[in-house]
């Protein structure tokens, strides 16, 4: 049963992805990418990652779409039509084939004795209640065991916000160029 839900969501996700990149109207591309994020969030719930699903639904489908639409309101709404290019396609397919070879060597999906499950994960699960006392293990790992990591991420968000403010709401060099002109000929420029 779980496999079939998995399979159906994966196929929906792939179809939405292909639809999103094959559209030429950018509005449709953005809305489809929002739908893609929502389906990915549903898949995260199936894969037991409720916190990640929550974040993906709020950020990926919500704020990201709003920002993309804000960008779209300032740039042309249609993409220039291009034919399917052979070299990038073959490059993508070649990379995919190589990664499929690597996937063949991956441990079986869902097995409890993979290397991923061997090291720190069991410690978090068994000791979190004793050491942190918070039921949600994701929260305890996020803020206590890996607090440095989250501190770095917060700093990255801070820096990105400052960068956007400087790029979009800062002064430009053009201002310095046009300013003397507007002082000398202000009545004409105000029109």
């Amino acid at each position: 049963m779980e496999f079939w839900i998995n399979a159906a969501l994966a196929i929906i996700l792939t179809v939405i992805g292909i639809m999103a990149v094959s559209q030429h109207r950018l509005f449709a591309v953005i809305i489809l990418s929002g739908a893609y994020s929502l389906v990915a969030a549903t898949w995260f719930v199936v894969l037991d990652a409720v916190d990640v699903a929550f974040t993906e639904a709020a950020v990926g489908a919500g704020v990201s779409t709003v920002l993309a639409l804000g960008t779209l309101s300032m740039v042309p709404g249609k993409e220039k039509k291009r034919p399917v290019e052979a070299l990038p396609l073959s490059l993508a397919i070649a990379t995919g084939m190589l990664l499929l070879l690597a996937v063949a060597d991956m441990p079986q999906f869902g097995s409890p004795d993979t290397p991923v499950q061997q090291h720190v994960g069991p410690h978090y699960i068994t000791q979190s209640e004793k050491e942190i006392g918070v039921p949600n293990i994701v929260t305890s790992v996020l803020s206590s065991y890996r607090g440095f990591d989250t501190f770095g991420e917060t700093a990255v968000i801070f820096t990105a916000a400052i960068a956007v403010f400087l790029i979009l709401t800062g002064w430009t060099r053009k201002k310095i160029i046009t300013k003397p002109k507007s002082k000398t000929k202000s009545p004409e420029l105000d029109v």
């Binding site: 792939t14 990652a49 990664l99 968000i157």
Partner: protein, 134 residues
């Protein structure tokens, strides 16, 4: 072969999504579409991490008090949780740059952008020459 598809289903789909995103980033010339392709690429990596942490028959890593419960690995969840928010913050920087590029060059298609930049460089060069001659 079929057992390979059945057991590694998630990873195969992840590779497929990666290919879609990669092709979009490399081949499509529209900068906004490149960002969307990047988001698809990013999400495929997220699904890869979460799939690697999944244990069949497990539940979400929130302690229930029952000692027999099997929990999926919380570590990939934490890594991806922060990666999603950082991803949207960096994507916003990309969008801001797209807006500034459009305001400066009047286009967000890559090939036209190259032409416009070349033309701009040419006019600047001519300006420079005329200034030095003057």
């Amino acid at each position: 072969m079929s057992s390979f598809i059945l057991t590694q289903w998630n990873f195969i789909i992840v590779v497929g999504l990666m290919m879609i995103g990669f092709y979009t980033v490399v081949a499509r010339g529209n900068l906004l579409k490149k960002m969307i392709g990047l988001a698809i690429f990013q999400t495929s990596v997220f699904i890869f991490y979460i799939s690697a942490g999944k244990i069949s028959g497990g539940t979400a890593p929130i302690l229930t008090g029952n000692p027999d419960t099997v929990y999926s690995n919380p570590l990939p969840h934490v890594l991806i949780l922060t990666a999603i928010v950082v991803g949207v913050a960096t994507t916003a920087v990309g969008y801001a740059l797209i807006i500034r590029i459009y305001e400066s060059f009047g286009t967000i298609e890559e090939d036209e952008l190259t032409e416009a930049m070349n033309a701009d460089a040419l006019t600047e060069h001519e300006d420079h020459i005329s200034e030095t001659n003057r």
